[in-house]
């Protein structure tokens, strides 16, 4: 677990609380689980030469379509909760109040926590813009400080908590169908994240239940090596045979 900026982490927890109040966290968790389980089942790298990137692409679309389908359902509760779903440029974007939640699938098919410092925003305009907004760079121009170059400093502390409203929901899933999710505040510079907090992590209910998902190898000989029942067929004794 990384050491996050205390202020950003506090703000992130406020955001998380707001998302929980609006049941967005539950929605994300339930939909991610429901979406990932069948994808994990059909993920077969050894037989079908599936790749983590391939299943990630499919899962990304599945999650978007599932959430959209629920959002568009006749009696969905999301509008009354102040939740809106959009898909700018095909990417899922959840608006909850003034929060904007982008969805990211962390690389790999494992349940471990992602390596946060390996995320980059340059490959996606939407993510890059979100990070810029969190940095407050799209609001007011940075104040000029004499003797310093424009990019020679981190975001200066203004004494006022910046408005961090752009959130990234990051999820992972493993080959057995378990999932985990985090909520993060993206930022510019390094580290890429201002703060990250866990939303959930699926655990096998216990060692036994975990083992239950792994097929046990049958014991004993197979049917073909077992003794077949004996069928006795014999000639009847003829009259007089008994006397001999």
């Amino acid at each position: 677990m990384s050491e996050w900026d205390v202020t950003a982490l506090a703000a992130l927890h406020d955001c998380k609380q707001e998302l929980e109040d609006r049941e967005v966290v539950r929605w994300l968790r339930d939909t991610t689980r429901a979406m990932w389980r069948p994808n994990a089942e059909r993920y077969q790298p050894s037989h079908l030469f599936d790749t983590p990137r391939g299943v990630a692409g499919l899962a990304w679309e599945n999650l978007r379509e599932r959430m959209l389908a629920e959002y568009r359902a006749a009696y969905h509760p999301w509008r009354t909760r102040g939740v809106r779903l959009t898909v700018p440029h095909g990417s899922l974007l959840i608006h909850a109040g003034d929060l904007a939640v982008h969805v990211i699938k962390a690389p790999g098919v494992r349940l471990r926590e992602p390596e946060w410092n390996r995320f980059i925003w340059d490959t996606s305009a939407a993510r890059h813009t979100a990070a810029i907004r969190n940095a407050g760079m799209d609001a007011l121009p940075l104040p000029e400080i004499e003797g310093q170059l424009a990019f020679d400093f981190e975001i200066p502390w203004s004494g006022v908590c910046p408005t961090w409203r752009e959130l990234f929901f990051v999820w992972v899933g493993d080959a057995t169908g378990l999932t985990a999710g985090w909520l993060g505040l993206p930022g510019l510079g390094r580290p890429r994240w201002l703060a990250v907090t866990s939303l959930w992590r699926d655990e096998a209910a216990g060692v036994d239940d975990g083992a239950r998902d792994v097929p046990r190898i049958p014991s004993g000989p197979p049917f073909s090596e077992r003794d077949a029942p004996e069928v006795t067929v014999s000639l009847k004794r003829q009259p007089g045979e008994a006397a001999r």
């Binding site: 089942e41 097929p215 069928v231 067929v233």
Partner: protein
């Protein structure tokens, strides 16, 4: 007017004078159904009314010698076949559990049933010379509409009563034969391939009968079929045959009989893992399809996975990958016939005594003969 009764009696005598004396109505019914001919068709062939054929078959009247000659020609059986000889026990169609009831024409089912009757008769004949395994099937007390759990429990009790240890059943057909069931495989030629396996526990001879399909050239499927028919024999005596419920119950019985839940549940994968399914197929001696169905039924495979697995199985079709070898073969009838021949009473002698054509007798014995019998023969 006074001699009217006399004239009627004379006319009756004239009519009856040409009628055959030695006639077995049951044999006519068997031969007609074996030839896959309706009563109306036979009536047209022999130039009598369909009602007359019905009367012949019910023993209300006997055919004339001319009509019998025509019957013999139409049905391809020698005249002697229709004489009283070996009794051919009846298996009423209402007691025969056909898996393919809805997809097979009635006359084709009747044809297969007639073959089964003939096999029972031949076994009766051979049993005069040979001691066969007595019928020792357990009685399972089940409610009229048993639940899945009750059926599962019944299958477990059946395994125990039949002496099956835990784990896979070694040889299902042999197990049935060891407990007195007559198992024969329908000949591939002359019978409708759509006629699937069927069974009846209510035969006139008292010996339960199982007929296996000749087309399922696969060990896994033959084992499941035999277990399915065992389910009918143990659970459905006196139950009207043919309903989907009854067939489904036999299916559940077979699944539990071959793959007991308590033993296989942990073996089954929770995802479509064909490597594991193939290993289980080799261990339990069941098809991939049966394993996938079982995994879904026991909650190991989710609905989407089950659907995906079935699409793959459908794409593979039959025979499915990883064959286990030729189907399990019956052997008792063939082995018993061999013993009779060892004794010196050739099959031709038996055929003559039973008034069954030798070719027909050979066909019946072949249907109950394994290529490589593995029997304990006591002389």
């Amino acid at each position: 007017m006074s001699d009217q009764p006399t004239r009627v009696a004379a006319a009756s005598r004239r009519r009856s004078s040409g009628r055959v004396e030695d006639f077995d109505c049951r044999r006519l019914a068997v031969a007609r159904r074996l030839a896959c001919m309706s009563r109306a068709e036979l009536a047209r062939h022999i130039e009598v009314t369909p009602a007359a054929v019905t009367q012949y078959e019910h023993g209300l009247t006997r055919p004339t010698t001319t009509a019998l000659a025509r019957i013999s020609f139409a049905l391809g059986m020698p005249r002697e076949f229709f004489c009283r000889g070996l009794n051919i026990p009846e298996v009423r169609s209402s007691t025969a559990h056909f898996r393919s009831l809805r997809t097979t024409p009635a006359n084709r089912r009747a044809q297969a049933l007639a073959f089964g009757e003939l096999a029972l008769a031949v076994l009766d004949l051979i049993e005069r010379y040979v001691d066969l395994p007595p019928v020792r099937l357990p009685t399972l007390d089940l409610s009229a509409q048993p639940s899945q759990a009750e059926i599962g429990d019944a299958a477990g009790r059946a395994r125990k009563a039949l002496g099956v240890d835990s784990g896979p059943v070694p040889h299902v057909v042999r197990l049935l034969e060891a407990h007195g069931v007559l198992v024969v495989r329908l000949p591939a030629d002359g019978f409708d391939p759509r006629v699937d396996a069927f069974s009846s526990s209510e035969t006139a001879s008292g010996r339960p009968l199982v007929l296996m399909s000749p087309l399922k050239d696969d060990k896994a499927r033959s084992r499941f079929d035999a277990s399915h028919e065992l389910g009918h024999l143990l659970m459905h005596t006196g139950v009207e045959a043919g309903s989907r419920i009854v067939e489904s119950q036999a299916m559940s019985f077979a699944a539990e009989f071959l793959m007991p839940r308590a033993e296989i549940e942990d073996n089954l994968p929770t995802r479509v893992d064909w490597e594991t399914f193939h290993a289980l197929k080799r261990h339990w001696g069941v098809s991939l399809r049966a394993l996938v169905y079982r995994a879904h039924k026991l909650g190991r495979l989710s609905d989407p996975s089950y659907g995906r697995a079935n699409r793959q199985l459908k794409q593979w079709g039959y025979p499915e990958p990883g064959p286990l070898g030729p189907p399990e073969q019956p052997s008792v009838l063939g082995a018993a016939a061999e013993l009779v021949e060892l004794r010196g009473a050739g099959l031709s002698t038996l055929a003559e005594a039973a008034r069954i054509p030798l070719g027909t007798l050979h066909a019946v014995v072949a249907a109950g003969r394994s290529d490589r019998p593995r029997l304990t023969i006591g002389v």
